[in-house]
Amino acid sequence: MSRTPTPPDRHTPPTVQRLRLRYSKRGRLRFTSHRDFQRALERAIRRAGLPIAYSAGFSPHPKISYAGAAPTGAASEAEYAELGLSARREPEAVRVELDAALPDGLDILEVVEASGSSLADQLEASTWEIVVPATAQAEFAAAASTLLSTGSVEVERLTKNGRRVFDIRGSVVRLEVHDPDVVTAGRTNASEGFSEPCAILQVVVRHGTPAVRPDDVLAGLRLVSGLELPRPLRATRREQGPWDAECGTVGDPLAPDRDAAVTG
């Protein structure tokens, strides 16, 4: 037995394929934190028997990278992660297997093979839908227009390291209040129904440091309007991807990978 411990000679096969996933956090599982999701995904990968690649060394870690995770309590239809596999697999088969191994509410929506570009670089902006009681629709609309006409809106967030104050106005590139049917029109899989009359705040934020969250937008609206706006019923990230400043839209971050897959 050697006296100096060296990493055990485990055969750590190299990564031969990288897959990008889009997944959702729905219903009551929106209360999972990002760490909770990470553990759930790692276990699901093992249950599904996927050939995940591991890092070498004393404590090998599965090769999974995450980007731009939604805050605890927020639902999302547009979360992204990348897996390194040690054997090639058909992306759609991986989607089906992984989705079956995850609890309902954490759903794998899309899997594509990664091209060269960095996933994190693709995630420049998000579209959020914040559901609020219909009774407060007028107040939210008024607060939204005040916020948009204000140059800088400094909000406070309680973090592990104390209070942090930062401007959100620079990140908010769109903020509109709609009736729910306007927002959900034409949506094929409207996964959520609304049990009470409500209005929807559509917010597009560009990602900065820190990334502006729905709670920050709410805090900003309360601050600029001076109104006691009610607690939102739910917040859902609808899109996350590259920001197209000319069209003012959030693009599909997996588009380059899909294109590469087609041409390649």
């Binding site: 485990r10 934190s33 999701f37 553990r39 276990r43 191994a101 609890p103 509410g105």
Partner: protein
């Protein structure tokens, strides 16, 4: 002081009970770690309420992150839910932020499975691994709208039933319990369910009182209200006696004899939230006859009953498949003592070689064989640290507690460990043991020095570390030390301060030795609750009323609150906190748990206590003749150990990555 006015159906009205989740959901963003209240864990069960006849709410009275991995609750949850006529759901202690939210919005204590009100179940079964969960029981009862005191409950309230190791002396919480069960739960929960079903099918004759009477008459369920405690003028107990006919004088513990027939958990719960143990645990045997005199678990779980190597192998395989866990713990009170542990370790290590499944043996004895085992199990992974528990610092102390480890054994063991590439050794000791002196505790520093010196010598390296971890000793019921006066917290703190000073002053070795310990005050309260009688219930209630919650958590525990409550609640009694804790008891004194039968012969326990004082050791009865502790004949049980001679065969389907 029930907080809510409730409109719950009677026990025998099987009306639909609706989920509280719609009311809870909008409030979840207001609390920390909301996922712990959501349920939906992999392998959890939600049944149709109306399709079942007997319904259990199982509670672990600590936070979800501690309670979810609890083996006892997981086993009973699965055993009960396997019967189509029984429904079992889980509930845990809610954190103070959630308690506040629930009170503000008048939402009762709920289960995490169906989010049903705890008050709607037939039984609230609470598993007490430690006495420090007692205040959390009161919070849960109050939030559930169940009267705190059993005598105030009516037919519409659940039967509040305690189990777990602390239930071997449930007297301090006797006023809050309807019933308690001693020992292994697998069979008795089904027997209790049968009694409840029969009683409900008959139309609940005689109400709650008759149900409890039927349970008590079996001899296996303790119903505190059917026993009266009389006291002597000096405060000691005069006697404990049944106050009605048909109730046995002594209530006996339950012993599951064939563990291979009960391979639970089969489908371990896999939480989304982070918990204290992220692994699948397989209990490889139950019971221990090493005879460590401080160890309540070893005394009350006798005799030793092993699971066979093949059952262990099957459980590991199916548990990993069902859970996706990567870490498997082989649990027991002293895992290296399994008669085929070498084969178990080698067989499992072979099976999972090259996979990312890691195996651990959490409880390790001090001998070189353990290093062989640890090497086998760590074939795939890291060799960071090994833990050994000499428990006592000096040879003399170890004789008193019957921990038969010599200094030579320990040094030889650690030398093997360091030579095999293990870089850190953790040593576990206790402070405040009976007859202990300053010298016994300072001997810990000597041992640690020798460990480092040995480690440096055999490894040729300077970066050897040894962590010394010290717990405060608390005398427990049903052990030879049940008569011992507990050391005062001041004494414990003083000795630990001297030890720390001695280690810090050592220039050669001091920096290689880490010392971890807690202050002595919480042990005093644990001592009060461990050996208390029914009068202590008033103290618990007063502490709870003053805001006491989560007493097992240092950030929530308040010694002063307990001292104040004890002073006030016991003011009219001839007893006080010291009387319960630091006082020696004599052979004749009636102890609060004497009517509860753990199988141990009282005279044998006393002799073993005298042997302890004389520094006389006793061997393990698995390998030496019986020394008449009383358990096997008393309980109609016997030691169940191998070897079976079986081997684990490789399995084809182990996933490699």
């Amino acid at each position: 002081m029930p907080f809510f006015t409730r409109t719950r159906p009677k026990v025998y009205d099987d009306m639909a009970v609706e989920s509280l989740f719609p009311r809870l959901e909008p409030l979840l963003p207001l609390v920390q770690k909301p996922i712990q209240y959501v349920g939906g864990e992999l392998n959890s069960t939600v049944k149709d309420w109306d399709a079942t006849r007997v319904r259990w709410a199982l509670m672990y009275p600590d936070a979800y992150e501690v309670g979810l991995p609890n083996q006892g609750v997981q086993i009973l949850y699965e055993v009960l839910n396997e019967r189509d006529w029984i429904l079992a759901e889980r509930t845990y202690a809610v954190w103070p932020d959630m308690e506040k939210v629930l009170r503000e919005h008048e939402i009762p204590q709920f289960t995490v499975d169906g989010h049903r009100p705890v008050g709607a179940f037939d039984v609230l079964g609470v598993s007490f691994a430690t006495e420090l969960g007692y205040t959390n029981l009161l919070t849960a009862l109050d939030l559930a709208g169940i009267p705190l005191e059993a005598r105030d409950r009516t037919d519409e309230h659940p039967i509040v039933l305690a189990g777990g190791h602390s239930a071997f002396n449930p007297e301090p919480i006797a006023d809050f319990l309807d019933a308690a069960v001693l020992g292994d739960g697998e069979e008795i929960v089904l027997a209790i369910s049968e009694v409840i079903r029969e009683w409900k099918d008959e139309g609940c004759p005689g109400g709650r009182d008759e149900l409890l009477m039927r349970l008590a008459a079996s001899g296996g369920v303790y119903v505190p209200r059917f026993y009266d405690v009389e006291y002597l003028p000096d405060g000691r107990i005069k006697r404990v006696a049944p106050n009605r006919s048909g109730v046995p004088w002594r209530v006996v513990k339950h012993t599951l004899m064939d563990l291979d027939q009960w391979p639970y958990p089969k489908k371990p719960l896999v939480p989304l939230a982070e918990t204290v143990h992220e692994r699948f645990s397989v209990e490889i045997f139950r019971g221990c006859t090493r005879g460590c005199r401080f160890c309540q678990a070893g005394m009350i779980t006798r005799p030793v009953r092993e699971r066979s190597i093949t059952t262990i192998g099957d459980m590991v395989r199916s548990g990993i498949d069902a859970s996706g866990f990567e870490e498997v713990g082989l649990l027991s009170l002293s895992s290296a003592d399994h008669s085929e542990i070498g084969e178990v370790a080698k067989g499992l290590a072979d099976r999972y070689d090259g996979s990312n499944v890691s195996l651990s043996l959490p409880s390790t004895r001090v001998d070189a064989f353990n290093i062989t085992l640890a090497n086998e199990l760590s074939r795939n992974g890291r060799r960071s640290g090994l833990t050994f528990a000499p428990e006592g610092g000096s040879e003399r102390m170890r004789k008193v507690i019957n921990k038969m480890v010599t200094e030579e054994d320990l040094i030889r063991t650690v030398a093997t460990a360091y030579a095999n590439g293990w870089r850190q050794v953790k040593l576990y000791f206790m402070c405040g043991l009976p007859t202990e002196t300053d010298e016994d505790v300072l001997a810990i520093a000597d041992l640690a020095r020798k460990v480092i010196a040995t480690g440096r010598e055999v490894s040729g390296r300077r970066d050897i570390r040894c962590t010394v971890s010290i717990g405060g000793f608390v005398p427990k019921p049903h052990t030879p030390f049940q008569w011992a006066g507990q050391a005062a917290w001041e004494t414990v703190d003083e000795r630990l301060a001297k030890l720390r000073k001695a280690i810090r002053a050592d220039r050669e070795y001091g920096r290689a030795i880490g010392l971890r310990y807690h202050d002595g005050q919480p042990s005093v309260i644990e001592g009060l609750l461990s050996r208390g009688d029914r009068r202590v219930g008033r103290v618990i209630r007063a502490v709870w009323a003053a805001g006491g919650r989560f007493d097992g958590w240092s950030e929530h525990f308040s010694y002063d609150r307990w001292v104040k409550a004890a002073g006030e609640a016991l003011a009219e009694e001839p007893v006080d906190l010291d009387w319960y804790t630091i006082r020696d008891r004599d052979a004749a004194e009636v102890l609060p748990w004497d009517h509860l039968d753990a199988g141990l012969d009282r005279e044998w326990l006393w002799e073993d206590w005298q042997d302890a004082l004389d520094e006389v050791e006793v061997e393990d009865c698995r390998w030496t003749p019986c020394y008449d502790c009383g358990v096997c004949p008393q309980m109609g049980t016997e030691i169940q150990i191998g070897p079976t001679g079986q081997k684990l065969l490789p399995i084809a389907a182990v996933s490699h990555s």
